[in-house]
C-alpha cells in the first residue's frame, strides 16, 4: 500500500456535518421530494404463495375518480431481459411468492391509489407451495459459491477422524430465525419521467447501481437516468435495488411529466425488500485434553428463493477464526417459494458467529477452561484458511482489554448460582470479526474553489454511517486543509461513480478514491488556482493478495433472567474492537454501539414467523416483529484499541458498520447460560425457552 496519509482531521470527533438538518427534520429523504403535482402509487400484491394469475379485473379501479393509471402484466412496459428475476416486474403471470407485485395503481393521492389497488380483482390457479426450512428439506443443494464469491464447502485435513479421536467433543445444532432489516425509513422512490430522462429520488445504498440497473431494464443510456439520494434513513443491506424501484419507474412512465411517489408500507417491506435467511447450523468441535482444538466442522442449512438464489456465507468466518488442523465447512440451500433473502447487517458473520461463539463457550466449559483463555489457546498465527499472514489481528488484545474493563476476572464460572430479587445473573463473552472488503469502481474528483476551498465529489452515500463527515475528514487530510475547507458532494449518480454502501466497505473504497484524487491534484497543481481539477480512483491494492485482512472484537454481556418468568434483560454490554484507524471516534462509537444494539435485538426479540399455510410472515409489522426499544438497552459501551495497519488502505482504516452486531447475540446467549444453567441454542432468547 502506498503510505498512510498523515492524520490531522482523521481521528477528531467531528460533529455530524448534517446533524443540524437531521435534528430539525429538514434533511430531505427520498419520499420528501414532492411537488404539487406528484402522483402516488400503490401496489397490488399476490395473495397466493405460488401459482399463476388467471384473471385480473381492473374495471372498478380504473373507474375510481382520481385514478391515473392501473398497471398490470398485460399493459406494463416490457423490460429488457436481465439477470435478476426479482426485478422482472409485471413481466409474466407467474407468482413466485406471496406478496409479489402483480399490479399497481397510480392516482392523485395516496388514499385513492390504495383504494384503487384494493379494487383490483385477481383470480389464480394456485400450485402447492413449500415455504418451510427444515434440516431435511427436500432438494437441499450446494450452491456454486456463497455470497459474494466464497467457496461453498471447504475441507482441510480429516475432520471426521479428528473428531472421533478427540478427547473432548461438542456436537450441537444452533438455529437463527428469519429476520428483517427494517430500516426506519421505508424504501421509497419519487420518479419523474420527462423528455426521455428519468430522475429518481431514491432511498438507496447505491445510487450508481440503481442508475445502471434501471437504465438497462428500461433500455436507456446511463446518462438518461439520474438517481439522487442525499439522505437515507438506514438500509442495513436491504436498500440495494428491489422490485419497488422498478415499479416506481414504470408508474412514472405511465404519467410522463408528473412525478410519481412510491413509498412502501412497513407491511410491504416484509415481502419486497429482502431479509436474513433462517439458518440451521450444526457445529462439531474436537479438542485435546490440553484445550487445543483439533477439529472444527460447521455445516449450514439455510434457505433461498426458487425465484433467485442468495446463498448466505454463514460458515465463512469459521474458516479463519481458530487454529485447528482439521476443518470443514459446508452450506446447503433449500429453494423455497419465498421472497429472495438478501444482505442483512453482517450477512454470514452475524448468524455464523452466533453458532460458532456459542459452541466455543460450550467447548471451553467442556475443557474446564475460562472462555477467554480457551480462545487465546486457539489463536492462529496465520490465517488457517489461506495460509496468509494477517495484516493485523488483535483479537486477544480485545479480549484481554475487555476482561479488565468488564471485571471478568472476578467471574465464578459456575452456572445458575447468582440470584438477586428473583433474577438469575450471569455474564458472557464472544469474539467478533468482519473482513476488510474493498469494492472496485469508485472514482472521485477534487476541484479548487474560491477562497482556498475544495469541492470533492463522489457518488458515495450516507445511510446513517457518518460518511458525510468521515469522507470530509479524509479529503481534508489528503489535501492537507481543515475539514471546513472541503465542500463534499455525495449521493447523486451525476457525480463520479461510487460503490455500494455495503460490506462495511464504504470508507475503504470511497476514501481510497478520494485520497487518490487528492494526491493526483497536489502533484499536478503545486500552486493551485480556482478551477483546477483532478480525478482519481480506488487503486488496486497488491497487499490484498499478500495478507488476510479482518477486523476483530470482543463482546461482553451481563444478563439477568427472571427465575419464574424466564424474562431476559441485558443490563450491561461492552464491545472492544480492533478495526484499524478510527476516522471519527464520535460517529464510530455510534456505529459500534448501533451494531451491538441490533445484536441485542437479535438476541432477545427478532423473529419473522412464517405462516407455512399461506407463505407470509405473520407478524409483519412492529407490533408483531419486535426490535429493541430504548428500555431494552441499559448500559452499553464500545471502545477500541489503537491499531496501525498500513496494508488495508491509505487511511489505515477497516470497516466498522457491521462488526458491532457480530458475536453480540452469542455473548448474550452465553451469559444467559451462565445465569441459568439452561443452554438456549435457538434465537431469539424468549422466556419460554428458559422455563424447564
Amino acid at each position: 500500500m502506498t503510505g498512510l496519509i498523515e492524520p490531522k482531521s482523521i481521528g477528531a470527533p467531528l460533529e455530524r456535518l448534517e446533524g443540524h438538518a437531521k435534528v430539525t427534520g429538514t434533511a430531505p429523504y427520498a419520499a420528501e421530494h414532492l411537488a404539487a403535482d406528484t402522483a402516488h402509487l400503490h401496489p397490488v400484491q399476490a395473495t397466493v404463495a405460488r401459482g399463476r394469475i388467471t384473471g385480473m379485473d381492473t374495471t372498478a379501479a380504473e373507474a375510481l375518480d382520481g385514478v391515473l393509471a392501473v398497471l398490470t402484466p398485460g399493459n406494463a412496459p416490457r423490460l429488457a431481459p436481465g439477470d435478476d428475476p426479482e426485478l422482472a416486474v409485471l413481466a409474466s403471470d407467474e407468482v413466485a411468492y406471496r406478496g409479489q407485485i402483480i399490479a399497481a395503481a397510480v392516482a392523485e393521492t395516496t388514499e385513492i391509489a390504495r383504494q384503487a389497488a384494493d379494487l383490483v380483482r385477481v383470480s389464480y390457479a394456485e400450485l402447492p407451495h413449500d415455504v418451510e426450512l427444515r434440516a431435511d428439506s427436500a432438494g437441499l443443494y450446494a450452491p456454486e459459491v456463497v455470497n459474494p464469491t466464497y467457496p461453498t464447502d471447504t475441507t482441510e485435513g480429516d475432520p471426521d477422524g479428528a473428531l472421533a479421536a478427540a478427547a473432548v467433543t461438542v456436537d450441537r445444532t444452533y438455529t437463527t430465525p428469519m429476520e428483517h432489516n427494517n430500516p426506519m425509513e421505508p424504501h421509497a422512490t419519487v420518479a419523474l419521467w420527462a423528455r426521455d430522462t428519468l430522475t429518481l429520488y431514491e432511498s438507496t445504498q447505491w445510487p450508481h447501481g440503481v442508475r445502471d440497473t434501471i437504465a438497462r431494464l428500461f433500455g436507456l443510456a446511463t446518462d438518461q437516468v439520474r438517481v439522487i439520494a442525499p439522505y437515507v434513513g438506514g438500509g442495513f443491506g436491504s436498500k440495494t435495488i428491489h422490485a419497488n424501484t422498478v415499479l416506481a419507474a414504470m408508474g412514472a412512465r405511465a404519467v410522463p411529466g408528473r412525478p410519481v411517489s412510491f413509498a412502501l408500507t412497513r407491511q410491504q417491506m416484509f415481502s419486497l425488500v429482502g431479509y436474513r435467511t433462517p439458518t440451521i447450523q450444526r457445529i462439531r468441535l474436537g479438542a485435546g485434553a490440553d484445550g487445543r482444538l483439533t477439529a472444527i466442522a460447521h455445516d449450514v442449512v439455510e434457505q433461498t428463493a426458487r425465484l433467485k438464489e442468495f446463498a448466505e456465507q454463514t460458515a465463512v468466518a469459521t474458516r479463519s477464526m481458530y487454529a485447528a488442523p482439521n476443518r470443514r465447512t459446508t452450506h446447503r440451500l433449500a429453494a423455497l417459494d419465498v421472497p429472495a433473502p438478501t444482505w442483512m447487517r453482517a450477512p454470514g458473520e452475524c448468524p455464523g458467529m452466533f453458532a460458532l461463539e456459542c459452541a466455543m463457550d460450550e467447548m471451553a466449559i467442556a475443557c474446564g477452561l475460562d472462555p477467554i483463555e480457551f480462545r487465546v489457546r486457539n489463536e492462529p498465527e496465520i490465517d488457517p484458511e489461506t495460509g496468509l499472514p494477517f495484516s493485523s489481528r488483535n483479537l486477544i488484545r480485545c479480549l484481554r482489554e475487555g476482561a479488565d474493563r468488564f471485571g471478568w476476572r472476578r467471574r465464578d464460572p459456575t452456572p445458575g448460582v447468582r440470584r438477586e430479587d428473583g433474577w438469575l445473573l450471569g455474564t458472557g463473552v464472544a469474539a467478533s470479526t468482519f473482513p476488510v472488503f474493498r469494492l472496485p469502481g469508485s472514482a472521485a474528483t477534487v476541484r479548487r474553489l474560491a477562497g482556498g476551498r475544495y469541492r470533492v465529489q463522489i457518488d458515495a452515500v450516507d445511510i446513517g454511517t457518518g460518511a458525510w463527515t468521515s469522507l470530509a475528514q479524509i479529503a481534508a487530510d489528503a489535501l492537507d486543509v481543515p475539514p471546513d475547507a472541503v465542500d463534499l458532494r455525495i449521493g447523486d449518480s451525476a457525480l463520479p461513480p461510487g460503490s455500494v454502501a455495503g460490506g462495511s466497505s464504504g470508507t475503504t473504497s470511497w476514501g481510497s478514491a478520494i485520497v487518490d484524487a487528492a494526491r493526483t491534484f497536489r502533484e499536478k497543481f503545486p500552486d493551485p488556482e480556482e478551477g483546477d481539477e483532478a480525478g482519481g480512483a480506488t487503486p488496486d491494492n497488491p497487499d490484498l493478495e499478500r495478507f488476510a485482512m479482518h477486523a476483530y472484537g470482543a463482546q461482553f454481556a451481563a444478563v439477568r433472567v427472571h427465575a419464574d418468568t424466564g424474562e431476559v434483560r441485558v443490563p450491561r454490554m461492552l464491545g472492544v474492537f480492533a478495526a484499524g484507524r478510527i476516522i471519527n471516534p464520535r460517529t464510530a462509537r455510534s456505529q459500534f454501539i448501533g451494531g451491538m444494539t441490533m445484536g441485542l435485538s437479535m438476541a432477545l426479540h427478532e423473529d419473522s414467523v412464517m405462516d407455512v399455510r399461506f407463505g407470509q410472515v405473520a407478524n409483519h409489522d412492529f407490533a408483531g416483529y419486535h426490535i429493541a426499544s430504548n428500555a431494552d438497552v441499559r448500559s452499553i459501551d464500545a471502545i477500541w484499541i489503537e491499531e496501525e495497519d498500513p496494508h488495508v488502505n491509505p487511511m489505515g482504516s477497516k470497516g466498522i458498520g457491521e462488526i458491532g452486531i457480530v458475536g453480540a447475540a452469542a455473548a448474550v446467549a452465553n451469559a444467559a447460560y451462565h445465569a441459568t444453567g439452561v443452554r438456549v441454542r435457538d434465537l431469539p432468547l424468549t422466556p419460554e425457552k428458559f422455563l424447564r
Binding site: 455530524r16 414532492l34 388514499e111 426506519m184 439522505y231 434513513g233 438506514g234 412497513r266 446513517g464 455510534s590
Partner: protein
C-alpha cells in the same frame, strides 16, 4: 369525501382540503410539504411521526386530519429557532444521539413532550412512587422514550442527551 380544515403548524396557519381518510401525518407531509415528522410505520408502532399536538406528544399517523380541525402543531423544525436549536436537539448533536436521522425528529418531539409529562408528575411503568415528583433516572428516560424506535440503535446516546438536557 373531502373536507376543508385549518391547522397551525410551527406557528404558520394553513387551510387545506383533505380526504376524510387522510391522516394528520399525510396532511402535513403530502398536502402541506411539511416533512419534519417522518413516516416509519403508519400504525402508531414506531414514533417517527411524533409531534407536539396541542402541547402534548402524539403520533400523527394515528390521527385523522378531519378530527383535528384547528389544531396547533409543533414539529422538530418548529422547536428550533433558526440556527438556534432547542436544548434537546443540541444535546442530541453533542451526544451523537442519531445516525440515519430518520427517527430523530420524532425522538426530539417525544423528548420535549415527555419532559413536560414528567414535570407534571405523570408516572411511568417504572415509577416506584406514584404520588411524589418524578425523578428522571436513566431507567425512567428509557422507559418513557420507548415509543420511539431507532433501528440504528442510538438509544444509549439518546438517553445520555436527554439526561444532560434535563440538568
Amino acid at each position: 369525501m373531502d373536507v376543508e380544515i385549518g391547522l397551525r403548524v410551527d406557528g404558520e396557519p394553513h387551510r387545506l382540503v383533505v380526504d376524510t381518510r387522510t391522516t394528520l401525518l399525510d396532511a402535513m407531509r403530502e398536502r402541506l410539504g411539511i416533512t419534519s415528522p417522518k413516516k416509519g410505520c403508519d400504525h402508531g408502532q414506531c414514533g417517527a411521526c411524533t409531534v407536539l399536538l396541542d402541547g402534548r406528544r402524539a403520533t400523527t399517523c394515528l390521527a385523522l386530519a378531519v378530527a383535528h380541525d384547528g389544531a396547533e402543531i409543533v414539529t422538530a423544525a418548529g422547536l428550533a429557532d433558526g440556527e438556534r436549536l432547542h436544548p434537546i436537539q443540541q444535546a442530541l448533536l453533542d451526544h451523537d444521539g442519531l445516525q440515519c436521522g430518520y427517527c430523530t425528529p420524532g425522538q426530539v418531539c417525544s423528548a420535549v413532550g415527555m419532559l413536560a409529562e414528567a414535570e407534571a408528575g405523570w408516572p411511568s411503568h417504572v415509577t416506584a412512587d406514584l404520588s411524589g415528583a418524578v425523578e428522571l433516572t436513566d431507567e425512567e428516560i428509557a422507559e418513557r422514550m420507548s415509543g420511539n424506535l431507532c433501528r440504528c440503535g442510538a438509544y444509549a446516546n439518546i438517553v445520555a442527551a436527554i439526561r444532560e438536557a434535563v440538568r
